[in-house]
């Protein structure tokens, strides 16, 4: 084993969550090492849909709704910073977004859900939304299908190019002096308060802080650091069309046009464990909904498709935690690495740099599951 290499922080996981935090820490002036897997891995960061999305997050969990909104608000600054740091255009566009409803029942359910979100938001950060009927919606979105009954709209939503974001975060991180180590699955670790040692890629890394952002890998890794990260894989499939001339001025939850011109159609939910095989029947369902929403899509070629695994906490709400046993160890677990990148880089990273999570993240602790399981 080689001589230990000292850092001020070790981040485990080079996906969107890990690299946003790592960039945030590097930006705070910390000498940071980012440990990543190799070319083939379960990479949610290479499989997501690219929405910066507030309107569907945090129903029944006001703290999560608020955190998501903070992130959406922080996003323009993050995009600007990345442009300044490495000249990257991550294609951030936040014109607001809609969720299409294809039946009266879907419309009624959506309306209830939005009303609940508004109630739970309270007055400090009010949640503005509108239910939009088909006639008005047709003015906003061209070529809408006759099946579409209406939509919910919130002004906070938008989208980015998630792959450009990943690339930009990596470039910004290394540009700020961060050290990126690929093929570095954690082999062993020794934890002590504010004194961590991680063995990976045949090297030894030491730091007073360690951040676990290894996605599904966190479940096994967290207990080593006196933490718990009850996350499971949840499969989602996405379809991509050929590039077309600009059509849509805003994203929807199931159809969005990328900055390159492709339409992304998504996405499905399946509880199938660690399985990333593609299922034609599921792909057909996604296609059907997209064609019902916008009939012209039937004529477009599907040129790509994929399935990937979301990192899904037990209750669907992100988990942020710090170790009581080993202060200085943190976890971040969520399935919204794109939406929450703003918060991760600009809010969470400074807390970790300071050595302590802010009280507003208390409800995100995995201890909530102990309470619930005991009850």
């Amino acid at each position: 084993m080689s001589a230990p290499e000292p850092f001020q922080a070790i981040v485990v996981g080079g996906g969107l969550v890990g690299s946003a935090i790592a960039w945030g820490l590097a930006r705070e002036g910390l000498r940071c090492v980012l440990l990543d897997e190799g070319d083939i891995a379960f990479r949610a960061s290479r499989g997501n849909f690219g929405l910066v999305w507030a309107q569907s997050k945090g129903q029944g969990a006001p703290h999560y709704q608020r955190w998501t909104r903070y992130s959406a608000n922080a996003w323009p600054e993050l995009a600007r910073e990345l442009a300044d740091a490495v000249g990257a255009d991550v294609g951030l566009h936040q014109p607001g977004g809609v969720h299409l409803c294809l039946s009266d029942k879907e419309m009624a359910d959506r309306s209830d859900r939005m009303a609940q979100m508004a109630r739970e938001a309270g007055n400090s950060l009010p949640f503005h939304y509108r239910m939009i009927e088909a006639t008005e919606l047709r003015e906003m979105l061209p070529a809408l299908g006759p099946t579409v009954v209406g939509a919910s709209f919130t002004p906070y939503d938008g989208h980015v190019d998630p792959l450009r974001l990943l690339h930009a975060l990596h470039r910004a991180f290394t540009g700020a002096g961060g050290v990126y180590v690929p093929n570095a699955k954690v082999e062993r670790s020794d934890a002590a308060p504010r004194d961590f040692r991680v063995m990976a890629a045949g090297r030894v890394f030491e730091a007073p802080r360690v951040v676990l952002a290894a996605g599904l890998g966190n479940a096994a890794l967290a207990p080593e650091f006196g933490l718990s990260a009850p996350v499971r894989p949840q499969q989602g499939q996405v379809l991509v069309t050929e590039r077309v001339a600009p059509i849509f001025t805003m994203p929807t939850t199931s159809v969005r046009q990328t900055m390159q011109g492709s339409l992304l159609l998504g996405d499905s939910v399946a509880e199938v464990g660690y399985d990333i095989s593609q299922k034609p029947a599921v792909m057909a369902e996604i296609a059907k909904r997209a064609v019902l929403s916008f009939p012209f899509i039937a004529r477009l070629n599907m040129v790509r498709a994929w399935s990937a695994l979301r990192i899904m906490p037990k209750d669907g709400v992100a988990i942020y935690d710090q170790s009581e046993k080993y202060p200085g160890a943190f976890t971040a677990n969520c399935h919204s690495g794109v939406t929450l990148a703003g918060a991760h880089a600009r809010l969470l990273a400074p807390m970790i740099a300071a050595g302590q999570l802010d009280g507003m993240l208390d409800p995100f602790s995995a201890r909530r599951f102990d309470v619930r399981d005991a009850a």
């Binding site: 083939i40 690339h167 390159q260 159609l265 296609a287």
Partner: protein, 445 residues
């Protein structure tokens, strides 16, 4: 529709497998993208066998096509496989509905190895295989000043065919380095493969009279909106059509998408699926035969197709182990004979480092997304360990061809930049759809 055996591809391997399997009483589905059987080597042979420019070996393919047409397999030409579930045996096909198979044989053949030189995206630069397909499917020949650049058996075959067709190339730029012939003789196979090599000598003789520059390096194409000149270290020539060729490689798109185990072929510098004597892959429902399992030419492909069919019959209980061994023995001898000259050819025509990984940073390696070698190198320096991460960073391999044209080059550039052996860099992992289909077709499922 449910079948004992589904064969993907109606080239020599696929046709031979279908004929053999039908002879053993199996129900057989053959799916092929082309309008007529033959694969690339016997492309359009039913229509073009009378064209003397193409030669006697080509016309000989007619017999195989005729026996395939008669064999009683369900033949779906003009049909694309866009997804295969190897566990359930369901094939998603377009146009038309899905099919079910107890055993699947991938006989998807080869593709020309991409030749990413500066200017290879200009109109007028094409593969030599493309020019040969023009000859086979349309009887057509390139006009104006035609330059053949590269190396391999196809170069001399095409030169001879174009000459016979009354359109000899103006110039041949052969990239085989000096001293390769000696290495090829040392690699062996020249004696047992002498019949094939004599045929090659015949082609060389036929091409006599066409100017040849040997041991060419630094190849590049230039022109305003199309190829007008070809340049190399120490020379240049006017050029209207530049035909490139550096050998062929297995078409691994579907085998890789299925997650079949692959091995690095050191001699041919490419990945190929791991298969046993009968073409059985690492998945117990799937076999691979023909050039798709490793380049061996059409005669070896034909034998491998037969072996895979015999194995399918045995696995499905239509042939005893003894019967399998008995029938396989002569076919194996045929295959081994057809492969005898490979070590010689592989050593003679080994692609140069500059073909596998272009030297100049500005060369476009991903033709679809227009990603350059320099961008790939930068991604590798940033930490991308292979073509899959590079795809996320750069979109290389994300366009319409899904990495068929750039996957190997991107992986090679990364290996070079990282200073690791090419076989340690994982290949691009394709996903379905293997070929595009419309969302309307998909929604109609």
């Amino acid at each position: 529709m449910s079948f004992d055996l589904a064969v993907i591809g109606a080239g020599p391997a696929g046709m031979a497998a279908a004929v053999e399997a039908r002879g053993l009483g199996l129900s057989v589905l053959v799916v092929d993208e082309q309008a007529a059987p033959g694969g690339q080597v016997f492309r359009a042979v039913e229509a073009a066998h009378g064209d003397t420019a193409l030669g006697a070996e080509y016309s000989a393919g007619l017999g195989l096509v005729e026996s395939f047409r008669r064999c009683g397999a369900t033949y779906r030409p003009g049909t694309t496989l866009w997804h295969l579930d190897p566990d359930s045996g369901e094939l998603s096909l377009t146009p038309g509905g899905p099919a079910q198979a107890r055993r699947v044989l991938l006989a998807t053949g080869a593709q020309e190895r991409p030749v990413p030189i500066p200017g290879w995206t200009l109109p007028g630069a094409m593969g030599m295989g493309a020019a040969q397909i023009m000859l086979k499917t349309a009887g057509a020949v390139p006009s104006g000043r035609v330059v053949l650049a590269g190396q391999g058996p196809l170069l001399w075959l095409l030169a001879a065919q174009l000459k016979r067709a009354g359109a000899p190339p103006a110039l041949i730029l052969e990239t085989t380095p000096k001293g390769r012939l000696g290495a090829a003789f040392r690699a062996g196979g020249w004696f047992s493969g002498r019949r094939l090599l004599l045929k090659g000598l015949g082609l060389l003789r036929e091409a006599w009279g066409i100017p040849v520059v040997r041991a060419v390096t630094g190849l590049r194409a230039e022109g305003e909106g199309r190829v007008q000149r070809v340049l190399w270290d120490g020379g240049s020539a006017d050029c209207d059509t530049l035909l490139l060729h550096e050998g062929v490689v297995p078409a691994t798109h579907v085998p890789l998408a299925l997650g079949l185990q692959h091995a690095w072929d050191q001699a041919q510098q490419c990945w190929r699926p791991v298969v046993d004597e009968y073409g059985a892959s690492s998945h117990d429902r799937v076999a691979v035969a023909g050039d798709g399992a490793g380049i061996g030419g059409w005669q070896a492909a034909l034998a491998m197709g037969q072996l895979a069919a015999l194995d399918a019959a045995h696995r499905l209980g239509r042939l005893t182990l003894d019967g399998l061994a008995q029938r396989a023995a002569p076919v194996r001898r045929m295959r081994d004979g057809a492969l005898a000259a490979r070590p010689f050819l592989d050593a003679l025509y080994a692609p140069s480092a500059a073909v596998l990984a272009p030297v100049a940073d500005e060369v476009v390696v991903c033709r679809c997304e227009e990603v350059t070698a320099g961008q790939v190198r930068a991604a590798a320096r940033l930490g991308a360990q292979g073509p899959n991460q590079a795809k996320a960073f750069l979109r290389s391999g994300m366009g319409a061809c899904q990495g068929r044209m750039c996957g190997a080059t991107v992986a090679r550039l990364i290996a070079e930049t990282r200073g690791v052996a090419p076989e340690t860099v994982s290949p691009l992992r394709p996903r379905a759809p293997y070929k595009p289909l419309t969302l309307g077709q998909l929604a109609g499922l």
